[in-house]
Symmetry: C2
Subunit: 198 residues, 2 copies
């Protein structure tokens, strides 16, 4: 099983906890001996999409580039943790299709968090600036976010801990046969929100 790649795609608003969750998943999966790569939206922008902005077209282009790299890695046995706002449904679905067409599993995880909680948290101070109009095209404030209709898994960082969310996703992967059997056992939190889509 360790030679089977997989793409875990974390989508959600800025500050919802995508990267934090990806790190927790990476730690657990590394402990299992899996090959892991984390593709972070911001980091990929720096390396593959410098010069692109935040128009719909540019955001979609960035998402497709992350998808392209994720596909190459996953088809070579790597578990890819891609965390990117990826606000548009169509481009997420296109990435899923390109990856599944290559025989690789794709798990869309919607990292939900209510906007008022994000504005309240505002770890990076970005929401304050966006609300003041100092940042344009800010997802959730002045730019759209299209929630997944049917994510493979949904977590909510305002109601559960990172460990709980991670455990639920790992449990889902385990049940789907996508990872080996000794991954941390899941906690009994809202397990029904993960679809058996794999």
């Amino acid at each position: 099983m360790r030679n089977r790649g997989l793409v875990i795609w974390l989508t959600g608003l800025s500050g919802a906890g995508k990267t934090t969750l990806a790190l927790a998943l990476a730690e657990a999966l590394l402990a299992e001996g899996h090959r892991i790569e984390m593709l972070d939206g911001d980091e990929v922008r720096e390396n593959l999409s410098r010069g692109l902005g935040f128009s719909k077209e540019d955001r979609d282009t960035n998402v497709r580039r992350i998808g392209f790299v994720a596909r190459l890695l996953a088809r070579n046995g790597v578990i890819v943790l891609a965390s990117a706002i990826s606000p548009y449904r169509q481009s997420r679905d296109d990435v899923r299709r390109s990856i599944e067409d290559d025989g690789v599993r794709f798990l869309e995880v919607f990292v939900r968090c209510p906007i008022d909680v994000l504005v309240e948290r505002d770890v990076k101070g970005l929401y304050r600036k966006a609300l003041a109009g100092e940042i344009k095209n800010f997802t959730g404030i002045s730019d759209p976010y299209e929630e997944p209709f049917a994510p493979d898994c949904e977590v909510d960082s305002s109601t559960e801990s990172v460990d709980q969310s991670a455990a639920r996703i790992l449990s889902h992967l385990l049940e789907a046969g996508a990872t080996s059997s000794s991954v941390t056992q899941p906690q009994a939190v809202a397990a029904d929100t993960c679809e058996a889509a794999l």
Copy 2:
């Protein structure tokens, strides 16, 4: 050994035979059971660099992006065959450094072919257009190509066959311990032009 990645970077003028050589290498290495990905300059442009042109800056950006993806793949055990004109020494050297800094072997292969032979061949009709001024910034005609000072391996498609070039590179890899031992045995052609750099 099959879990060790490697980047084989083929640089040279358009039409010199980089992709053809990469295909021959891929075939031999696949037969050995290695994981292989081919990153072709034109294909990567389509997927990661659409919108970039052929200025020095844009060419360098494209080369760095190929290098970024090659590094991610190779550090996960893939042998990456990157074929790109990659005309500037500095960006090739930067890519090498980033990959070697990640603990991955990097083999620069200079695919040489005299310009008059390329103009004579002109398989895609590009040299005719470039000489007529219909294509601007064409490497070797109206744009520079900086030959590697000390490539790990050098082949010449005007004096040896694809099989001879491939065999020489494979022999070099084998001697360097970068691949397993049953790869096609090398032919005794100009073996001294491959540096024992690995």
